[in-house]
């Protein structure tokens, strides 16, 4: 025993390096294979330590920038602009909602009459932090489990889908954005009802994969959540197709997508805290389009 200790002390440098690398590797392995209590606890503890500082800093930055903006801008014009922007967002939401409702009504008129109205509950949250790496796309919210936030709850804004909650501490929650490379959402081309998988990528925007080769998809088509997967309400706007790629020999076609929401400028978001069996459709239509989230490749940490 003492010989081993002497050996470790002699090669202390290599021992410490090997130990840290092995521990890091084990943590990753445990987390990627299945979420273990040790990893979850460590993540949440670290997040819990820094989230109060982040909240205070975000509030300070917000306060300073608001003061500065109010000072520089003409106050009346700014308020008018904000009001008009809000009205435009509500009108856009209403148009999307009506389009989706009309299409749905045509197909499901008989069933629609049987549908029971149900309500979804929202929780407003502020974005207080962004991902600490350039490899993933997540944001930190100032609401946590104490306010009823749980994993996998959808996050939206009036313009459309933002993402889903992937991690919760008592006072904060981490949201995986639609454009995160390991995210995947069931999408539906609103015009032709063709389904595909919307996933993020390392660059800007997102991609719609696994679109049938002969499917009618063109630039400008609106994509909404498909409702398959049971996490998101059906019909939430995801974005618009900007380009379609048909590679020779490929089994599917792919498209690039411009998200409906400017995910770089998120400030306040809505978390869907209650989502009953039929609530999804209600939420989706009220946001302008309904729910579908397939949890990425199933390996999201």
């Amino acid at each position: 025993m003492s010989a081993i200790l002497r050996l470790l002390a002699r090669y202390r440098r290599a021992t410490i390096l090997t130990a840290t690398l092995v521990v890091s590797f084990l943590l990753m392995t445990l987390q990627v294979r299945h979420e273990t209590a040790v990893v979850t606890f460590t993540r949440q503890a670290l997040l819990f330590i820094v989230s109060p500082f982040i909240k205070v800093t975000a509030a300070t930055v917000r306060g300073v920038s608001n003061t500065w903006r109010d000072y520089v801008d003409l106050r009346g014009l700014q308020e008018e602009n904000t009001r008009l922007q809000r009205e435009t967002a509500i009108l856009k939401r209403r148009i999307d909602q009506l389009e989706e409702q009309a299409l749905e009504t045509q197909r499901l008129q008989a069933l629609l009459a049987m549908r029971q109205a149900s309500r979804a509950e929202f929780l407003t949250a502020r974005v207080v932090g962004k991902d600490a790496t350039n490899w993933f796309k997540t944001v930190l919210l100032d609401r946590g489990s104490l306010e009823g936030v749980r994993r996998n709850q959808p996050v939206v804004v009036p313009d459309g889908l933002v993402g889903r909650v992937v991690e919760v501490t008592p006072t904060s929650a981490k949201v995986q954005l639609l454009t995160d490379p390991v995210n995947a959402v069931g999408g539906l081309i609103q015009r032709t009802r063709v389904t595909g998988i919307v996933s993020g990528n390392l660059g800007a925007g997102a991609r719609v994969r696994y679109l049938p080769l002969m499917a009618d998809v063109v630039g400008g088509d609106q994509v909404v959540t498909s409702g398959m997967g049971g996490v998101f309400p059906k019909g939430i706007p995801i974005g618009r197709i900007t380009a379609v790629e048909r590679r020779s020999g490929a089994l599917f076609q792919e498209a690039t997508l411009q998200p409906a929401v400017d995910l770089n400028r998120l400030e306040e978001v809505l978390i869907l805290t209650t989502l009953e069996a039929n609530a999804g459709r209600e939420v989706g239509t009220s946001l302008g389009a309904g729910t579908g989230f397939e949890a990425g490749n199933g390996r999201r940490p």
């Binding site: 690398l21 890091s24 987390q31 820094v50 975000a58």
Partner: protein, 160 residues
């Protein structure tokens, strides 16, 4: 060493909150890695490894990455930076810039390799084009600014 914990907290706040408006095409400098580089110049390789591990854990907790991804990278980079500190630490800004550029790019390469191992291969070209290269450039530029700004001020003060 006294400024390590305040430095870590400053990195957390800057990376998560303050750097948002300074992002170029969604890319921000990796301040955590810069902290590891700078601390590693002043401590032993063992300490640099452990501090890199701690910094990486915080970075992972604030990110969507699996816990351990950046801890692995940062501890390895900390060790290498400390081990080679006599050869690395230089007074020439251009050399320092290339050093930071190479170090950040190497860290990006390790991250890419680990992501490929654990989550499947991300597309190589977009990873190089949209993440590794711009992040390395931005981080090296900011690192150079952080290291050289105080020295530049001192030189200017002396000249005045």
């Amino acid at each position: 060493m006294r400024w390590f914990l305040p430095g870590l907290l400053a990195c957390v706040l800057a990376q998560a909150v303050l750097l948002g408006p300074l992002s170029l095409g969604g890319i921000r400098p990796d301040l955590f890695l810069l902290l590891v580089f700078l601390v590693s110049q002043r401590v032993s390789p063992e300490a640099a490894t452990l501090l890199g591990f701690l910094v990486g854990l915080f970075q992972d907790a604030l990110s969507g990455s699996p816990l351990g991804l950046r801890a692995f990278t940062d501890s390895l980079m900390g060790f290498l930076a400390a081990r080679l500190s006599h050869d690395m630490y230089t007074d020439k800004p251009l050399a320092l810039f290339w050093l930071l550029l190479g170090g950040t790019a190497a860290a990006g390469g390790i991250t890419l390799a680990l992501l490929t191992f654990f989550l499947g291969p991300p597309p190589l070209f977009p990873a190089l084009l949209w993440v590794i290269a711009p992040e390395a450039l931005y981080t090296a530029a900011v690192g150079l600014l952080i290291v050289w700004l105080p020295q530049l001020r001192a030189v200017l003060a002396r000249a005045a």
